[in-house]
Amino acid sequence: MSATKPAIFNEMLSGDDVRPAYQNLEKWYRSMPAELRSLKQSEAEALFRRVGITFAVYGEGGDPERLIPFDMFPRVLTALEWRKLDHGVRQRAAALNAFLADVYDRREIIRAGRIPEHLVTNNEAFEKAAIGFRPPRGVFSHIVGVDLVRTGPDQFYVLEDNCRTPSGVSYMLQNREIMMRMFPQLFMESRIRPVDGYAGLLKKTLASVAPQKCQGEPNVVILTPGQFNSAYYEHSFLADLMGVELVEGQDLFVEGDFVWMKTTEGPKKVDVIYRRIDDAFIDPLCFKPDSMLGVPGLMSVYRSGGVTICSAPGAGVADDKAIYTYVPEMIRFYLGEEPILENVPTWQCAKADDCKYVLENLSELVVKEVHGSGGYGMLVGPKSDKSTIESFAAKIRKNPENYIAQPTLALSACPTFVEEGIAPRHVDLRPYCLVGENIELVPGGLTRVALTEGSLVVNSSQGGGVKDTWVLAE
């Protein structure tokens, strides 16, 4: 164990030199008067507020419609860097879907002894109702959000996979929109690949997984829990861009072998549901009986091939943090390829040896709950005091299966506007991979940035911000 801090990779710099990808931006920054900067910053905020790009936080007091802080300094990826990420993410999405199709069917990977059975069948996200069911084109997870971090010029790691309903893509699109509006000159001088094809690609992907019983143009809808959901803005934004209906559970009903939506002209059949609600709320007849969010009888229509649900119920079994460790194994097993993107080395507290190591080295590690999300329920060892570490250790001893641990990576930092000018702040990246007839993604993703100096937590629920993410053309 070494006591020296690992050097942090600054994405803009190579030694003292500005990396070529950032040269335009550096010039732009240096020629921008401070007054213009604050003017543009408030202009950006007004734009976000005006188009209503907010995320809802209820029950915490304060303004229930908050803005996610937007940082105007873009994050840049070169064509070469992107090519690797693009291939790596698509490879991962393919393997995750192959895994899902397998665990709900023949379970070959388990029988081959490559993944322990209990990790799958004891998993809360494992959906018994999906056993033996093959969704159209065998796709379970149609939108895979892969969270990536970087530690060096050529070193990217996958932090986690989101196979259920990854959010944030509206920020990817809006950040670009607002940057283009505020700094058109910058875009003329740089060759930045567009991301605005995303909505078209998403619609094409969803239509490509229409059920067999569907005749003619599939009717695609987005199912939202409603306006009080924190991502409601995103749901309505995507519905708008795709030109499809944004429905709530109360707008749908089951009759005969199909799902219908209530319209002013009477019932209209629904073929594909991009749901942004959790499995547990899809159908009160199957899952939570007291929930009003879902549609009674939806699961039986789904199973009989009358409607496609995206992502498929049960897809979450592929994205929990215990399964994560095995994704490289999946890539080898199903695709016969070597993983292009690396996992972060991970200790599983469920294994006795790993657990011992973790407990002995807590102050160096990041510990996460297997099913946790959003930066909650985690321990950042180097940032925690002794008593926090001790009480966390007790939790791990009590329920080791519930935790995994990873080394604290030296996350790369990207120049970010701060009071005094710019300063490096840690970032991550979430590209959105679409899986249907084809596997595709637009060149870009959501860059989240930890605005507090030294902080590694980028989640919006924990005070993180967002940036525009540029992929340069070849």
Partner: protein
């Protein structure tokens, strides 16, 4: 269109219209308080305004005293009062927010910025706010919002549902405003034709921004018959009962054409329009103005119920 979307658009429009009526009533009350006081002080007049909103009881319960300041607070700012300007605009904005994708950017912008301004007013010290300014602000905000609808929204079914909501609500509100004047503001039949009666009719015109319309349409002095004609039967006056009913008939016809399917809502509405076309002021006074208005409100509500059943429930009969 999703029934729920149509429902939100319809109610958004109704709430905007309702906010405007509350402001108009508040204006009437405040003006009335300035009139010579023949019947025991302005107290009664304020109570009349509250009665018109069906809000006298909840008001007394919360504020006890019917002074002007309390009533202003109650009718303008009070979130507990469902028909206060604040509640109506908040409800309109909430309905709009849910169906953002069915509104153009300028339409949403008009609603949302009006609501932000209203919040600003809420934070302003009350002694700096004049009731007339509050009423004028409300009228201007509502007109801005409707203007944004009219000049930017696609003329599709959503537009029709907004139009239907606006005009059903407006017809009901106009009927109520006339009714207030006749049965509540006027303490006794003895005053009919008196100076007080006269100035109250004038006030009613003013509350509907109808003085100029009146002068353009009718010569000579203000009489009950002329005003009743303007506000009930004149198809050219945009707040008259007939104009409102005609307006929603047009929207319903438009829907039937879009959907290639006529409905019961259309029939009920056209029946009401025919009756208004054939009515005369003499008939109305013979039946009794109050009775006529009550009957109208029931039939107007029946149109609303039918629209709901046919289009907004998602399950047409």
């Amino acid at each position: 269109m999703l029934s729920r979307t149509a429902d939100h658009l319809y109610w958004m429009a109704r709430y905007i219209e309702r906010a405007e009526t509350t402001a108009r009533l508040l204006e009437v009350g405040a003006r009335n308080a300035l009139l010579p006081n023949a019947t025991g002080g302005y107290r009664n007049d304020w109570e009349a305004v509250l009665l018109a909103k069906g809000a006298l009881e909840p008001f007394i319960e919360k504020y006890k005293d019917t002074n002007q300041r309390n009533i202003e607070t109650f009718l303008f700012f009070d979130a507990d009062n469902p028909s206060s300007v604040f509640s109506c605009l908040a409800a309109a904005r909430e309905n709009a927010r849910v169906v953002r994708t069915a509104l153009t950017a300028p339409a949403w912008d008009a609603i949302n910025s009006s609501f932000q301004e209203l919040r600003q007013l809420q934070r302003t010290e009350r002694s700096k706010l004049m009731v007339t300014d509050l009423c004028e602000w409300t009228l201007r905000a509502c007109q801005l919002i409707r203007g944004a609808f009219m000049s930017t929204q696609l003329r599709n079914d959503g537009y029709d549902f907004m139009g239907i909501g606006t005009t059903i609500e407006r017809a009901d509100n106009t009927a109520r405003l006339i009714d207030v004047k006749y049965y509540v503001l006027l303490p006794s039949v003895n005053y009919v034709g008196s100076g007080l009666d006269q100035s109250q009719w004038a006030l009613l015109l003013q509350s509907m921004t109808a003085q100029r319309a009146f002068n353009w349409s009718y010569q000579g002095e203000i009489t009950a018959a002329k005003i009743a004609h303007l506000l009930i039967l004149n198809r050219r006056f945009p707040r008259s009962l007939r104009a409102c009913v005609q307006w929603y008939c047009e929207h319903l016809d438009d829907l039937a054409e879009n959907y290639q399917n006529g409905t019961e809502a259309q029939e009920v509405a056209h029946k009401l329009l025919d009756d208004l076309r054939n009515a005369t002021v003499d008939d109305i006074f013979e039946e009794g103005l109050h009775e006529f208005l009550a009957r109208f409100m029931t039939r107007n509500a029946e149109v609303a119920t039918t629209v709901h059943n046919v289009y907004l429930s998602g399950m047409p009969a």
